[in-house]
């Protein structure tokens, strides 16, 4: 008996293949996104953990101006510290043949005796530099790749004001710089930022750091109290200019990896449920119609002696066919995306190895979830079919009851009967119509989220590079200098304007809440780096008090008029109370501004600048870059113009990839929902529509009934999609925000319009595929039979 039902199953599948495939594709997207997100998440987290573990990634990091080596023993004995590493870490400016702009670098010392205790480098090629040979250096892999460097190649570096020729001996990767982001950059620029490793004795000589260190990293014991260690370390380092130790959570590279992991987790948590939910609804819809059509057959089968479970199993098998097709496509798609995504990560995150996690349990999970979703969608329909008594099943179902929406009076005829037919059908099946509308709203929301991310990024670029940080370059000095230093800067070729600034590391407190950050000087005269309000209008700088960014105000609970505690960490931790005069807009980190003179006064060491923002004549950029490479006292340089270009390029690439994927996903959902809705409408109303054809209505007019109903559902779905998109996008954007930067939340009208356009086009195309079936109506056949 079962074999016969299986034969029916095969024939049903062949007959309904297009509808089943449309559902399977939606399911496949859910499976694929799940496999990709979970697979990449696992790959990333496992690779990270292995890398961190094997190469001794530290738990606590601290910088100091200059601390004597004898402090090392005291630090080692802090309770909870397992290992400690003391290094010299300095900025450098690189001059690389073939690259006009100077590159920035962070130079890190390695023990002469060999490998450090912590943050060891993975050597991809070559050998670590020999302390006995002059000018040997190991460089980070992505930087080497960007320049095509191999061991044996050379470049020049400006370190402590002197230019030196360096020879590459090794290409390395460090757990500390998995995500290596240069000064002023928003995304890694591998050509313009590198990590250099040189022997301790060599760096001590170059930077005059004999018997001293300026960087501490600690590995803690399993049960160590990180906060207590940090507090103790800060106390030890503070006399030597310690600016506050921090844990892995504030280590930049690790913070970026973490935020990527959080995003993947969010992706795995948000997208698959949308697809699986829509797929469950579609399974329900397709099966409901199928069972409605097969009602009499079910009755007959039961009358013949097939049991209710046998009937249920038959339809469960049909559901599983959808699951198998969807899962198979999803596995293939998910693996492909996973590998592609992993490759994309390798461009930004440098691990010694990063391969997509193929572990079978991910696939098992995805397949299981897909089957569960489909069966949940099918459960009620199958149950009602299986529990239908044979005698009832063989009777035709009760006729559908329509109602006239009465207003108590007759409206003038506004809508044609054909339109009324379409609209009345919607109101007749409100639940199905609602689900369909939500199903169509999802791709609208998805696309709105995608494009609003792009809008928000654009807004951030505008806010940062055009409203507030308008300089072409930011130069930082080796020490805080007298303002006269600006004069020599202004004389560099191409410099049109140089605005000095001062940045002072502090701990800002409000009650028990505190943040390590820098207070920057600001002036009404500044035109490059500006402090603006929410409407991007430049604000006048009050002579006293702090102007804090929204992020700072939020995290510390400060508002205008509050008195904030400032701890000057490099000035013997002197405490000053300063009023907050305003809350300002800033998307770059934890910005706090103060009038330049007031800041000098608070610090109490006179008029000083720690760097300058520079506007450069565009036509003379090359000569300016050349001059920077040769200017002593410049410790580091951030090339904002190039940062912007690189950021835009990267964003555009990412957004292009993302848009393509989102459009494809949206099209699949739209097609799945609209195609199936239209097929079911056609199946339910075929007889009516054929009757219309007999009455003399043309194909186009008859199609109108079908298309008007579908179009009405699509139209209803748009505002819901926009709303959901707005809410989701806001969540996504706020998820991006960190102490490093905040992204303004913006959705352009354009994004809503484009999202709708894609969905409307995909929807109408899907409906038109079904419309072709109206052309193939057999008018005579329709009239011979009773519904």
């Amino acid at each position: 008996m079962v074999a016969i039902l299986d034969r029916k199953l095969l024939r049903d599948v062949r007959r309904l293949w297009a509808q089943l495939l449309a559902v399977a594709l939606v399911l496949a997207c859910g499976v694929a996104v799940l496999i990709m997100a979970v697979g990449v998440y696992r790959s990333l987290i496992e690779t990270r953990d292995t890398f961190y573990d094997r190469y001794g990634f530290a738990d606590v990091f601290a910088s100091v101006t200059r601390a004597p080596d004898r402090l090392a023993d005291e630090i080692r004995t802090i309770d909870g510290v397992l290992r400690a590493d003391f290094r010299v870490v300095k900025p450098a400016i690189l001059d690389i043949t073939g690259m006009e702009a100077p590159a920035a670098a962070t130079v890190i010392s390695t023990p002469d005796s060999g490998e450090p205790l912590l943050n060891r480098a993975y050597i991809r090629a070559g050998r670590l530099p020999d302390p006995n040979r002059v000018g040997e250096v190991a460089v980070s892999e992505n930087f080497a790749k960007a320049h095509g460097f191999e061991p044996g190649d050379h470049f020049e570096a400006l370190m402590d004001g002197k230019k030196r020729r360096l020879t590459i001996t090794a290409i390395v990767l460090s757990p500390e710089y998995v995500y290596a982001i240069g000064p002023g950059d928003m995304v890694p620029d591998n050509a313009r930022y590198g990590i250099l490793y040189m022997p301790e004795s060599v760096l001590d000589g170059i930077f005059d750091m004999d018997g001293a260190f300026n960087n501490v990293t600690l590995k803690l014991g399993r049960n160590a109290n990180e906060d207590a260690v940090i507090e103790r370390l800060d106390r030890l380092l503070s006399p030597y200019g310690g600016v506050g130790a921090y844990g892995r959570d504030r280590q930049i590279s690790n913070a970026f990896v973490d935020s990527e992991l959080t995003q993947l987790k969010a992706m795995a948590g948000v997208l698959p449920p949308i697809f699986l939910g829509v797929a469950a609804f579609l399974v329900n819809m397709v099966l409901s119609r199928m069972i409605a059509l097969e009602r009499e057959q079910i009755g007959l089968l039961k009358a013949l002696g097939f049991s209710s479970p046998a009937i249920a199993v038959h339809y469960i098998k049909l559901t599983l066919v959808i699951v198998i097709i969807g899962t198979a496509i999803g596995f293939a798609l998910g693996s492909w995306w996973g590998v592609a995504m992993t490759r994309l990560y390798v461009r930004f995150y440098t691990f010694p190895f990063l391969v997509f996690d193929w572990s079978p349990d991910v696939y098992l999970l995805a397949g299981g979830v897909a089957a569960a979703a489909a069966l949940i969608g099918a459960a009620r329909v199958i149950y009602s079919a299986a529990s239908l008594p044979a005698a009832v099943a063989m009777r035709p179902p009760e006729p559908v009851r329509y109602r006239q929406l009465s207003l108590g009076f007759r409206l003038p005829r506004l809508l044609s009967e054909l339109t009324v037919m379409a609209l009345r059908n919607i109101s007749r099946f409100p639940l199905r119509a609602t689900m369909t509308v939500i199903g169509i709203a999802m791709p609208v929301a998805l696309l709105t989220v995608g494009w609003s991310t792009s809008n928000s990024m654009d807004a951030m670029i505008r806010a940062i590079f055009f409203d507030t940080q308008r300089q072409d370059a930011t130069v930082s000095f080796t020490d805080a200098l007298a303002p006269e230093a600006l004069v020599s800067l202004a004389r560099l070729p191409g410099v049109m304007r140089a605005e000095g600034f001062r940045a002072e590391p502090v701990i800002l407190r409000n009650g028990y809440r505190e943040k390590h950050l820098s207070i920057s000087s600001a002036s009404d005269l500044d035109d490059l780096s500006r402090v603006v309000d929410a409407d991007a209008v430049q604000l006048s700088i009050p002579p006293e008090g702090l102007m804090v960014s929204e992020r700072v105000a939020e995290t510390l609970g400060l508002s205008t008029g509050d008195l904030a505690q400032v701890e000057l960490v490099t000035r013997n931790h002197r405490l000053v109370s300063v009023p907050v005069t305003s809350v300002v807009q800033s998307f770059l980190g934890l910005a706090v501004y103060m009038d330049g003179r007031a800041l000098d006064h608070m610090i109490g060491d006179g008029d000083r600048v720690s760097g300058a923002n520079i506007a450069v004549d565009e036509t003379r950029l090359a000569t300016f870059y050349g001059a920077v490479k040769d200017t002593p006292r410049i410790a580091g340089v951030a090339l904002n113009r190039l940062s912007l270009e690189n950021f835009r390029k990267t964003m555009r690439e990412n957004i292009d990839i993302m848009s393509t994927i989102y459009i494809a996903l949206a099209a699949v959902i739209t097609f799945g929902v609209v195609y199936n809705s239209a097929r079911i409408l056609l199946s339910e109303r075929g007889r009516e529509l054929a009757s219309l054809r007999v009455l003399g209505f043309s194909r186009a007019e008859v199609s109108q009934v079908l298309l008007v109903e579908i179009a009405a559902l699509i139209v209803l779905a748009q505002p819901i999609g926009w709303y959901l998109g707005y809410v989701f996008a806001k969540l996504v954007i706020s998820g991006f925000s960190s102490d490093l930067f905040t992204i303004p939340f913006v959705v352009d009208l354009d994004s809503y319009a484009r999202a709708s356009l894609v969905v409307v086009i995909a929807g109408l195309l899907s409906a038109l595929v079904v419309r072709r079936r109206i052309d193939r109506f057999d008018l005579v056949e329709v009239l011979k039979t009773r519904e």
Binding site: V400, R428, L692, V694, G696, F697, S698
Partner: protein
């Protein structure tokens, strides 16, 4: 109504409105060839009431479907007035049905989501000089039930709505395929009365397909089908009113 008295057949010479010549229809059902019509000639006259009689499968519906522009003959020609509709492409057939032909079917084929009035108004949208739906419904005696949906009406009422819908466009010809097939005799008679009234009042040619031999008595002319051919044609010298027939 004329009571027990028979109606004298009006034997004025009528002009043919349809001329079908040598109509054959061959279906392929799987491997088997079915000859539904086998070289049939048929003329329908303007304003006449014709009954096409025959057992099921004898070819009468197939012929009406071909003449009504719903189906195509395998061979033969159909002329409607001066137009050779057997040569028409699909879109012209649609236009032809729209302009000239009304259909009434055994299963009514009403649109369940439209009220009686709306079902009738439907054809108003596609015809040049439609009857107001109220007027058409009044002709079939359903003015009181205008705002009911089909599911709220009896079979006879639904069929009368179907007739009202068919006549609302003032067709020159009304094809009725087993219009009483799904109805009890009392309701069936009511429906036939409506058809007679329309034949008289509008002057439309009415062709009624039936396998019910009793209905023949109401026609001007009765054409009998058997095995895809016309077996015979008879002219009723005396027509009965529907109220006087029984089955």
């Amino acid at each position: 109504m004329q009571g027990q008295e028979a109606v004298k057949n009006d034997d004025r010479e009528r002009a043919p409105i349809f001329c079908a010549r040598g109509i054959s229809k061959v279906y392929m059902t799987g491997e088997v060839e079915v000859r539904a019509l086998d070289g049939v000639d048929l003329d329908l006259m303007a304003g006449e009431m014709v009954v096409l009689l025959g057992p099921s499968g004898s070819g009468k519906s197939t012929l009406l479907n071909i003449v009504g522009g719903l189906d195509r003959a395998s061979s033969g020609t159909v002329r409607f007035r001066d137009e050779m509709i057997s040569d028409y492409p699909e879109w012209k057939l649609t236009r032809y049905r729209r302009a000239h032909v009304g259909f009434v079917f055994q299963f009514y084929n009403l649109i369940p989501s439209l009220t009686a009035r709306e079902n009738v108004a439907l054809v108003g949208a596609i015809s040049k000089n439609p009857m107001p739906p109220e007027e058409a419904l009044e002709m079939v005696g359903l003015k009181q039930r205008m705002d009911h949906f089909p599911a709220q009406m009896s079979g006879g009422e639904q069929q009368r709505v179907a007739i009202a819908r068919a006549i609302a466009k003032r067709p020159e010809v009304l094809f009725c395929d087993e219009p009483t097939g799904a109805l009890d005799s009392k309701t069936g008679i009511l429906v036939l009365e409506v058809l007679c009234r329309i034949n008289e009042a509008l002057g439309a040619t009415v062709a009624i397909i039936t396998h019910n031999a009793d209905i023949r008595r109401i026609a001007h002319r009765v054409i009998t089908f058997r095995d895809g051919r016309i077996e015979g044609t008879e002219i009723n010298q005396e027509r009965l009113s529907p109220a006087d027939i029984q089955w």
